[in-house]
Amino acid sequence: MTGTTAPAAGAEVSALQAALAAEHAAVYGYGVVGAHLTGAALAAATSDWVAHQVARDSLEAMLRSSGTQPVAAAVAYRIPHPVRNSAGAMSLAVTLEDRVATAYLGLVALPATAIRELGARGVVAAAVRAASWRGKTVAFPGFVAGALSPARR
């Protein structure tokens, strides 16, 4: 974002591409989510859909400005579980957001401060949307479920 002239380092490019790929999937997925919702839930899905489009455009611009061709969206995505009603749609939204959060968390491990902050903002935003669809919060957004939970009993 900050007028990068030199091509970004390899790790940075692949992490940015991973975040972009997750945003592409979310943009596609929210189309499916919205198709099964009405009223306030549909409005929320539309708002989240737009947020992912904005994030996608921003990542693409960043990659281009560093001389990298952004990954393209797939023509279609396999939906992880069948979506037949509003509960299924909300569950898909949770999955999409969790995957986006994980992708942005990858950026937080990189050395450049601006990239870390971009990643952290992405994790926070995805976590807030995920919590709203999930109806509850989680302790470690972005980490694969159970990765950081202590063994119980």
């Binding site: 959060a101 968390l105 937080v108 491990a109 990189l110 050395p111 401060t113 870390r116 902050e117 990643g119 952290a120 994790v123 926070v124 995805a126 976590a127 807030v128 995920a130 919590a131 709203s132 509850k136 919060t137 989680v138 302790a139 470690f140 957004p141 972005g142 980490f143 950081l148 939970s149 202590p150 119980r152 009993r153």
Partner: protein, 210 residues
């Protein structure tokens, strides 16, 4: 001294057990991971690099402050939970997530033997169940430095906790740049969790009214 020699020295020093408190294997591995980047900076550039010794990893200071912040947050939640049965039901799940944050942060702190400090003085939360935590009255006045301070009563308690969650998340995000990659990821995730608590607290206040 070759790079390999110093790598082995670091490994021995960390894994020898004599300088480490009884901590998990994960903590030892994490410490090794912290040690190796330093090696890459200082160990392989020859004698010239010795003129500017690497700064000690700032993770310890960042970790200690993050641990202290979680302890205060838990004490605040506990204070409200004890005072209001009406709000307790909604607050416990959020307080429990802070206990998980605390356990995860503590597991990353290597405490030298014989050093009496806050991190080693209190038993690890991860070793106890959440019910035991509550029964033990963790966060009560006897807990020392992690007291809740003045926590307002009634509906103001929710706004107070929301402000505390926002401030804690902002503080973690401000310190991202000085943390190791792995700790930075944990801090970003904890900050995200704390940010989600703000909306969850509003819901808890709504539920409490019923």
């Amino acid at each position: 001294m070759t790079c390999l020699d110093s790598a082995e020295e670091i490994e021995r020093g960390l894994a020898g057990g004599s300088v480490l408190a009884d901590r998990t294997r994960r903590a030892v591995l994490a410490a090794t991971a912290v040690g190796l980047p330093l090696l890459a900076v200082s160990g392989c550039k020859g004698v010239g690099a010795l003129a500017t010794p690497p700064k000690p990893a700032p993770d310890v200071a960042v970790l200690r402050s993050a641990i202290a912040a979680e302890e205060v947050m838990i004490a605040r939640y506990d204070a409200v939970i004890r005072r209001s049965a009406r709000l307790a039901r909604g607050l416990r799940p959020l307080r429990d997530e802070h206990l998980l944050h605390l356990a995860q942060l503590r597991s990353r702190l290597i405490v030298p033997l014989g050093r009496a400090n806050a991190a080693s003085a209190s038993p690890s939360v991860s070793g106890r169940t959440l019910h035991e935590h509550e029964a033990a009255g963790h966060g009560s006045a006897g807990h020392g430095s992690a007291g809740p301070g003045a926590v307002p009563a009634g509906a103001a308690a929710i706004s107070f906790l929301q402000a505390a969650e926002r401030a804690a998340a902002a503080d973690l995000l401000r310190k991202l740049a000085v943390a190791s990659p792995s700790l930075a990821q944990l801090m970003a995730s904890v900050a995200a969790s704390e940010t989600t608590h703000v909306a969850a607290l509003s819901a808890a206040r709504g539920a409490g009214r019923l």
